[in-house]
Amino acid sequence: MSFKVEVSHETASRKVVRARRPRRGNTEDLLATVLFAVLFAVPSVGDSYQVFILPQYMLFGVLAMSLCLVWGLGGILSFGQGAFFLIGAYALGILSTRVSGSLGVWLGIAVGIALSAAVAGALAYFLFRARVRGSYFVLVTLAISTIGGVIATSASDLTGGFNGMFISRVQLTVSGWGVDLASDSTSYYFVLALTIGVYVMLRWLSRSAFGRVLVGIRENEERAEALGYDVALRKTLAFSLSAAIAAMAGAIYGTEAGFVSPSLADVVFSTSIVLWVAIGGRDFFLGGLVGALAISLVSEKLNSAIPEYWQLLLGVLFLAVVIGFRRGIVGSAILAIDRVGDRR
């Protein structure tokens, strides 16, 4: 191996790192602030249906951001996010009816998150240790969502089986203080705050040392390992955290929507999550969030009118993103704004 080759590797990697961290770097946060401001204003100007439905879509957005964490930042594509979302929803549904009071609610949320994180962590560590990665890991995540759906359908004593289960709106209280999600407007602001919180946390994480090493692993796993990082451990932590976020979103979604069924782990829903993130832009958390919100809003209108053609259009968009439009729509917009800013 000649010296020149090494040098070119080095420049290429530096270019990648610089592209990931534009000097201003705040375009994403600025656009996110605008989005959150608009969402904050919706209850005062919009109708009651929007106040009812938007929290569910925001939770899809949180789910999409959990995929951005592993796929965009870590380069690990997961078709299993739907299963973790499902675990979160069922855990809350099952425990809030079986354990009375606010204890059951908190226990439900905690168990869902812990169970998802543990399953994801154990499986990921088991496989990443043996250097199972890329396409093979994708297949395992595909199996996770299949198994999740199958278990949810068959354990009908607990989950209501194929028909799903109803979950009432819960109260999140600590010794009398807290929020009552029974009111649509209260739960709207609660979910908005949660979405903002997850966004801020993930943005912070992506700027932290952990996030940067994760990007380094995505770009070149061998190099990261040669530099002394425990690659398997870091990838496992990312996957496990992403599963925990998905489960939390699932728990709140369960009580928001009032209903959960095994279809949340099926191929269609797992596909939707990947589509949101790919079309929105996997490299940016805002891309996943906007992708989920926008596609869910349009789907709601078009799924009743022209379902096949709309889904076909999404498929074609996905193909376009994969072939030559890697950044997705929001990602491209952010980079275009950055470029205009650079020129000035």
């Binding site: 496989l127 199972v132 396409s135 068959s154 076909l312 498929g315 074609v316 994969v322 072939i323």
Partner: protein, 287 residues
């Protein structure tokens, strides 16, 4: 509790049917290096083409080759248009074939609707072998599977085409230098795999009715067949993988529920993926 011979017969037919379904995937993955997430959609296409031909009065025995050719041509066009530019990036090919699945599934629904279609069994009646009974048609499908696997083995190890394919697997650059047209070979591999998927979809359609999502039910199982069987070990690997996945499910479901058995077998496949990433039959070193 079924008799012992019934268990053996069900296990064997289940294994062979799964091997038939997975063969197209194994060809594209083992020879072309592409994890074809569109495989399920190709199976579905095969089943729907069969149904559509039957609606136009074509006898079933003619529908099957038509389905194989139609799906093979679609696969070839997709390869020529998109997949061929991405062979050096395996992860991208996974996403591209996933896009194929999304698009094909919707086109199927636009053309043929969402309804489930039943394809009448072309060979009604049961057959009894050593006290165990099964459908005549199932036996015929298993026969076709054995014939196809034998044919694949013959092509791979007894013809010049097979020699070239194995040369490509071992060293693509060297094979190209020796005059093998790599890009045409890859096109042929993809088209063959697609045609095999179409054929399998057509053949299993009378056993399991045709619905737009029938392919995704088989997709994960087929993948685990290929993973357990291993890259490159086309015939033996597919058979062994099918035996592990299908037979394993049958064995475990003797003791527990079908669902739990399925889960255990998936866990088993993940274990195989971990301890022997190149498959149980490790023939070709990982590329």
């Amino acid at each position: 509790m079924d008799s012992f011979s019934q268990v053996i017969l069900d296990g064997a037919t289940g294994t062979l049917i799964l091997a038939l379904v997975a063969l197209g995937l194994a060809v594209i993955f083992g020879l072309g290096g592409v994890l074809n997430l569109g495989h399920g959609a190709m199976l579905t296409l095969g089943a729907y083409v069969t149904w559509a031909c039957q609606m136009h009065g074509v006898p079933f025995i003619a529908c099957v080759p038509i389905a194989a050719v139609v799906v093979g041509v679609i696969g070839l066009l997709f390869e020529l248009a998109v997949v061929r530019h991405f062979y050096d990036r395996p992860f991208e090919t996974l996403l591209i074939t996933y896009a194929f699945y999304l698009i094909a599934t919707q086109v199927i629904q636009i053309v043929w609707g969402r309804a489930v279609h039943n394809i009448p069994n072309p060979l009604p009646g049961n057959v009894t072998i050593a006290g165990a009974s099964t459908r005549v048609y199932t036996i015929v499908v298993c026969g076709v599977c054995i014939a196809l696997l034998s044919l694949t083995w013959l092509v791979m190890y007894r013809t010049s085409v097979g020699t070239r394919l194995r040369a490509m697997l071992q060293n693509r650059e060297m094979a190209s230098l020796l005059g093998i047209d790599a890009s045409r070979t890859y096109s042929a591999i993809f088209a063959t795999g697609a045609a095999l998927a179409g054929l399998a979809g057509a053949l299993i359609s009378p056993l399991f009715s045709a619905s737009p999502d029938m392919g995704s039910l088989w997709l994960v199982r087929s993948f685990f067949v290929v993973i357990a069987g291993g890259l490159g070990a086309l015939v033996g690997g597919t058979l062994l993988g099918s035996a592990v996945i299908s037979g394993g499910t049958d064995v475990f479901s003797l003791f527990t529920s079908q669902v739990f058995a399925q889960t255990v077998v998936f866990a088993l496949a993940i274990l195989i993926l971990r301890v022997r990433p190149e498959g149980l039959l490790r023939k070709v070193p990982a590329r």
